[in-house]
């Protein structure tokens, strides 16, 4: 490169560098700007207007939508439902994920097979998960029939029709379809742990549970943060699973931010107010992701 470019003037060289790079970058960057970055800025703009999404006249209402939002009982219900839903999913994925990964990390035969079994739900579409679990949760569905079969029939209940069980039941379905990914991320983290530590602990007479507690868990702390943030953000922005099952019901037991935004924004053509809900979602997820990426960058350095 140096040989041929020495003849060029600095200005021309700079322009040439720009042209070449631009050629490579243009398709990706142009698409990203038009269909991702600018819409993200526009959500904020929309949220300051009253608009039906179609008519040419938008009414500027300033922070009016946010004023309404903070006083909107259903928004807060959806917000706390989202927090509860996210918390259940994070507890399951981190708790079970760490234990199953610790077991799978041992040198056991058929490890890949077990890992595959646990990963297959991860590649399913959320709408497939919705259809399957809605069917299993029906009053005469697989869950209740199974409970009956093992003598726990008294626990049977219309899972998705009950105000108290609907949200946790769907959170379990979501965890089913994401747990495999948590396990794999934990496994990647465990590869960094020195096997000799376990051998040494064994010689010192440590039980497997002690080894897990004093070696595995401390070693997994950074990865746990990764799984925590990824699981939480994925849960926070989830839409398909709930839309494919309860659509927020019964009453508002499974209303989360994404479904509430969809109802107000898309179904009621209330673009301003829907966008205010979207901004709440966007800010929370973006902040969590920013913290995560910052942590990752610091670890890579």
């Amino acid at each position: 490169m140096a040989a041929s470019s020495r003849r060029w003037s600095p200005g021309r060289r700079k322009r040439q560098a720009w042209l070449t790079a631009g050629l490579f970058l243009f398709p990706a960057i142009a698409l990203y700007l038009v269909f991702a970055f600018i819409p993200t800025l526009e959500v904020f703009e929309y949220s300051l207007n009253r608009w039906d999404g179609i008519s040419p006249d938008r009414e500027w209402v300033g922070l009016g939508n946010y004023d309404r939002l903070f006083g909107d009982r259903i928004f807060w219900e959806a917000f706390f439902n989202t927090v509860e839903w996210t918390a259940i999913i994070v507890v399951i994925n981190v708790g079970l994920g760490v234990v199953l990964a610790a077991i799978l990390a041992r040198k056991i035969k058929g490890r890949i097979f077990f890992q595959t079994c646990m990963f297959i739900p991860v590649i399913q579409a959320p709408i497939t998960t919705a259809i399957i679990w809605r069917w299993m949760y029906q009053p005469n569905g697989a869950i209740n029939e199974g409970l009956n079969a093992i003598g726990l029939g008294f626990l049977a209940t219309p899972w998705l029709g009950d105000l108290t069980t609907a949200l946790p039941a769907l959170a379990i379905a979501h965890s089913w379809s994401t747990l495999g990914l948590s396990i794999v991320i934990f496994l990647a983290g465990l590869q960094a742990v020195d096997d000799e530590l376990y051998d040494a602990a064994k010689i010192d007479g440590a039980t497997p549970v002690q080894a897990f507690w004093y070696i595995t868990l401390p070693a997994l702390r950074p990865v746990t943060a990764v799984v925590f943030v990824l699981t939480a953000t994925a849960a926070f922005k989830a839409f398909d699973l709930i839309w494919g099952t309860t659509q927020g019901g019964p009453i508002r037991a499974t209303e989360i931010l994404a479904t509430y935004m969809y109802k107000r924004g898309v179904l009621e053509n209330n673009y301003g107010y829907g966008s205010a809900v979207a901004v709440a979602l966007l800010v929370i997820v973006t902040l969590a992701m920013a913290v995560y990426l910052y942590m990752q960058a610091r670890r890579d350095d």
Partner: protein, 270 residues
């Protein structure tokens, strides 16, 4: 050791529980009507594909399937080209404003698509892209391209700089180096990108639900949503629809298992 049976027992139980929902769905989709009274975990005694035929033809799933295949395939192929091209510029070329491009793309990693559907819908409408597959494809690409650019860049950074420099000294243009030198040795990153984008595209509901309102344009995800909305009691139909959706992905997964697991671990930020 003595604890081995316990470990295997536990792993087998968990694996069975994880597979049970899909197995029961498969069983039920194959059961003739008179066997539907048996519990879902009982395999079909006289398996039949009649429900698949009904769902495939009468419920229009052949059209949905084709639409899904078209969108996901184009998504995957175009993503490979645009993400690798951008990653090439960011990794190998010197140009002013690079940090700005990086910052812009980094922001893209954090944007949850769910939160920007309202302006995205208006954008598609203004460009006349509603009810076109192109509109879905462009939005898919835009929303996922940052993650794949970073994935490709991470791979490119491990390629020795001398390889590119040598080709440049031999008189190859940047495009030639990119296409003839760098891409051919980047197969793992290309496969990962293609697979993940195909999977995400295949599984997405929200954008397709918004942008595709004509039935003959719909994908499997949207088709399933409406099918279950109208045919709530048709268990055979629902389970066979779920299987039509799941089987291609499971087959691809089993073939490319290693790439999937690695790729999803890397791309988990989406």
């Amino acid at each position: 050791m003595s604890r081995k049976p316990l470990v295997y027992g536990l792993l087998t139980l968990v694996s069975l529980l994880m597979l049970a929902p899909l197995l029961m769905t498969a069983f039920t989709s194959l059961k003739p009507a008179e066997e539907l009274v048996s519990p879902p975990w009982v395999p079909p005694l006289a398996p039949t594909f009649e429900h698949f035929v009904t769902t495939w033809i009468d419920a229009n799933f052949n059209t949905y399937f084709l639409n899904s295949v078209i969108i996901s395939t184009v998504d995957a192929l175009v993503m490979i080209v645009i993400a690798s091209a951008a990653a090439y510029a960011l990794t190998f070329l010197k140009f002013p404003g690079k940090p700005l491009i990086y910052a812009l793309l980094l922001a893209g990693l954090m944007i949850p698509p769910t939160a920007i559907i309202l302006p995205l819908y208006v954008t598609e409408q203004r460009l006349g892209l509603l009810n076109t597959h192109l509109g879905v494809i462009l939005a898919d690409l835009a929303l996922a391209v940052p993650i794949f650019i970073f994935l490709m860049s991470a791979y490119f950074r491990r390629i020795p700089k001398e390889l590119r420099d040598a080709a440049r000294v031999d008189g190859a243009s940047e495009i030639q180096v990119y296409w003839r030198v760098i891409l051919p040795i980047s197969t793992p990153a290309i496969i990962t990108t293609g697979l993940l984008e195909f999977l995400w595209s295949w599984n997405d509901l929200l954008l397709r639900l918004l942008f595709l309102t004509q039935d003959n344009l719909r994908t499997l995800t949207v088709g399933m949503l409406f099918f279950q909305g109208t045919q709530t009691r048709d268990i055979s139909g629902l389970t066979s629809a779920a299987m039509i959706m799941a089987i291609p992905i499971i087959i691809i997964f089993i073939i490319f298992q290693r790439h999937f697991v690695q790729g999803m671990t890397q791309g988990a930020v989406k």
